[in-house]
């Protein structure tokens, strides 16, 4: 077996394992943003006093970005948005939530979806506001929801029509 191929296979396996680890960790702890220039628990092991260097972090996160499971927030690649569910999956998750709670033709505030009593114990609870808005806009484009503003600027509502 060619030594270069063996090294390449090992490298690919390593990247794959890290991608899975990042997604699982973020999903478990409901983390949406990973800062590259700050300490992040997953990339540091104080027991053996080792941590991933900046280059390695960027390699693993870029691999997630190329698969549509993450997005760079800025051009400098200092912050990365982790999509442990793709936007389409989030949209499906919202629809299931609406059906399960009998919220068809109901008005909800955007905040209510991510911090309300009904969403407790679901994937939606505590989710990132921007990710939620993108998922809702996707539903709006499909005619499953209508996003609208109330009387004051911070009134943001959505009416579902599943």
């Amino acid at each position: 077996m060619d030594i270069k191929k063996a090294v390449k296979d090992t490298r690919e396996r390593q990247v794959q394992l890290w991608k899975e680890l990042i997604l699982d960790y973020c999903r478990t702890h409901k983390i949406f943003l990973i800062p590259l220039e700050e300490d992040f628990l997953l990339f540091t092991n104080p027991l053996i006093q080792r941590s991933l260097n900046h280059e390695a972090k960027e390699v693993f996160l870029s691999a997630l970005v190329s698969e549509g499971r993450a997005e760079w927030i800025d051009k400098g690649h200092k912050k990365c948005l982790i999509l442990w569910l793709r936007i389409q999956d989030w949209a499906d998750c919202i629809l299931s939530f609406v059906k399960d709670n009998g919220l068809e033709d109901s008005v909800m505030t955007v905040e209510e979806i991510r911090t309300g009593i009904e969403s407790r114990g679901t994937e939606l609870h505590g989710m990132d506001h921007n990710v939620l808005m993108r998922a809702l806009k996707l539903l709006e484009n499909k005619g499953k929801a209508a996003i609208f503003k109330g009387t004051s600027a911070d009134d943001e509502g959505v009416k579902f029509s599943v």
């Binding site: 905040e111 484009n141 209508a146 029509s161």
Partner: protein, 205 residues
């Protein structure tokens, strides 16, 4: 082009009113949390000031706490009002009419609450009602007593006196025998021989 024929959900005035009420409810709930935090902080401040023997400042902190509690009661009442209106909206929606004045009034009330809060902060130097004053003083005394009891030194645990050690003889290993005694007098001789006889007799089976 795919989105050209997508039918969007129609947003009515009722929907907008419901959204306003829900937003109002969220803001009031946040306000509640803020007030609760302030109340707790004032109580802690009062405790610290009592410890430092600064009664006047402690009373001011307790007055602040009292006024915040009054405001919290009012916010609770507003929240109930919002809940009732939100419930009524369902019926009003069916009837196809909603009194937007009610919604507007509720929103004005919240603005009023904000200004009322500022007003309270300004008035704090002035006196509360006589009843409130009594409550504040009673709470002050309770806190003072509580802290005095907390600060008392602990009673030292007395070590129990040890029992005096008794020096006892060893357990005998031999059969007891009456020692030889020089007997004077016939009566004594008889008594001793009788004792010896008893001791030498075998026990009945």
């Amino acid at each position: 082009m795919g989105n050209l024929f997508v039918k969007k959900a129609k947003i009515t005035d009722v929907d907008k009113a419901i959204l306003s009420l829900k937003t109002q409810r969220r803001k009031l709930a946040q306000y509640q949390h803020q007030l609760e935090a302030v109340i707790e902080a004032e109580k802690q401040a009062a405790k610290d000031l009592i410890r430092e023997k600064r009664k006047d400042r402690a009373l001011i902190a307790l007055k602040k706490k009292k006024s915040q509690e009054e405001l919290l009661k009012q916010v609770d009442a507003w929240l109930i009002n919002v809940e009732q209106q939100a419930g009524n909206n369902a019926i009003k929606a069916i009837q196809g009419e909603i009194n937007m004045d009610d919604v507007q009034k509720l929103m004005d009330d919240t603005e009023e609450a904000r200004s009322y809060q500022d007003e309270i902060n300004a008035i704090l130097g002035e006196k509360l009602s006589a009843e409130d004053e009594e409550d504040v003083l009673a709470e002050f005394e309770n806190l003072e007593t509580e802290l005095t009891l907390q600060d008392l030194p602990k009673v030292p645990a007395q070590s129990e006196p040890k029992d005096e050690e008794l020096v006892l003889p060893d357990v005998p290993t031999k059969t007891p025998v009456v020692s030889e005694v020089v007997v004077e007098g016939a009566e004594d001789a008889k008594r001793i021989s009788a004792q010896r006889k008893v001791m030498e007799e075998p026990l009945p089976a």
